[in-house]
Subunit: 316 residues, 2 copies
Amino acid sequence: MNSILVVGSVALDTVKTSSGRSVEALGGSATYFSLAASYFSSVHLVAVVGEDFPREHRGTLERRGVDLAGLKAAKGKTFRWSGKYGKDAGAATTLTTHLNVFKTFRPTLSEVQRKVPVVFLANIDPELQAEVLAQMQAPALVACDTMNYWIDSKPAALKKLLAKVDVFFSNDEEAKKLTGAANALQAAEVLSGWGPSVVVIKKGEHGALMKVGSKVYVFPAYPLAHIKDPTGAGDTFAGGFLGYLASSGAHDDIGHLKRAMAYGTTLASFNVEDFSTKNIEDLERDAIDERFHDLSDRMSVPRADDLLKSRRAVSV
Amino acid sequence: MNSILVVGSVALDTVKTSSGRSVEALGGSATYFSLAASYFSSVHLVAVVGEDFPREHRGTLERRGVDLAGLKAAKGKTFRWSGKYGKDAGAATTLTTHLNVFKTFRPTLSEVQRKVPVVFLANIDPELQAEVLAQMQAPALVACDTMNYWIDSKPAALKKLLAKVDVFFSNDEEAKKLTGAANALQAAEVLSGWGPSVVVIKKGEHGALMKVGSKVYVFPAYPLAHIKDPTGAGDTFAGGFLGYLASSGAHDDIGHLKRAMAYGTTLASFNVEDFSTKNIEDLERDAIDERFHDLSDRMSVPRADDLLKSRRAVSV
């Protein structure tokens, strides 16, 4: 089931961080997701751009093998977002949002697209997410994300959607807001009661947790002393996670789900090291695996038996 | 080197959290540290209490085998602290601090105490920490902690002390304040330049990181949906960490240092599940190891090879 359909936004982002500024660069939830997932699975992108969408950005996605048959070019301008980040590279402050052609986005899937086995509904209107899902022909795995805007404006539609979703990605603030829970753990508990068998709560620099059935798994972020631009980290995480999971062929296996968390963390860590999508456009698979193994090592707790065998240090 | 000397505070704490209230209960940095470390190593406590210190609290420490030869009972009242926590169980708001007999605390170590191989200088005046350290006879391992108060009032003395310390524990806010760094990673970089070969930065519910040489290791917290009282979590972490490390007999070994992080995390997770020291006064070593292994499992990333061998899930 090594093939994923993603529906979401493709945008031009203007971003200011403590490391500098990036103007009308490639962005959007579906873009970050597609690039990250493309290292593991084949990706079919469903989105809309305007007549002004730079040809080079199409090239960036095509070079990663992303199928752009579903990337519609509509009359008008491409969705634009601008925001800024504080010194701590935490949550963005939105400066402007111009939906433009995205305002009337209403995707109709092709026969080929309907049959893709894995679908990721990136953070768009939950009613639109449900419409897309309804067009899918018995998908094996359905995942979605959302954002504060939809939690405030359409909580009922979102809750209804979650009943049909296998994997739900949320950041911790959104999860607490949506559920009214006091912390991420309690939020995950409530969310898994609403339907998703896997709930992933992303905490930025503090890592992420995953609830599968009644058990919670915990993961630190990859340690980075300098973050240039956190835009798209969450979607990149979801792309690495779902791209790997789809490629594993065993999306119920807890071992593969844990590896998916580590691949999500790995891809997100690359993404925040440069502006826009620059650092995830052209990675070597070896570089991804090297950081994946480095992360695994930095967070592993060795068994006592293994230490007795391979101790290198001086005993005092 | 299975023996630790700890110098710090023994206090009576009054605490209010969203789970309730605890009045004049056993507290203090040296108390939490001693109880946690006692599950792994023998502990010699050096501190002062007043004439009003309840006999039952001595009993609590004695039942854990903590050597109280260095617990002086002085004329006057025991150190008292009161504070409250918000719904998120984050940083405490101090309501009152009455140093009482602690104000004139000036420990003189006995011949036996001077020879203890591992020393933990809990968060007291850095000049006092240095005085205690100067009395030690060639300790094999020196660790210390501090707090905002000393970072503000005696930063130079603290920095001087760090040059003589092997392991420095700090929470992330304190580390950033002390170094002026923008994040915990950068703070750890600066701090390790000041002397300690191991820098541990504690982030509460977000886990902890450890810098050893040029490499940073990252650890999530044990996932708990309900925290009754976070008081003493940091000192309990240090006790679990150092207690285990001292017992390992190989404090330079990265494998044992990683296991020490996981034991620190484990002990701290027990501590916050009840008020005061209630939940770390009488643990079974088996219960500690069970949670240690549970934590290791929740945060482990399996190797692909291992999954091919033991896959249990249904492939789609």
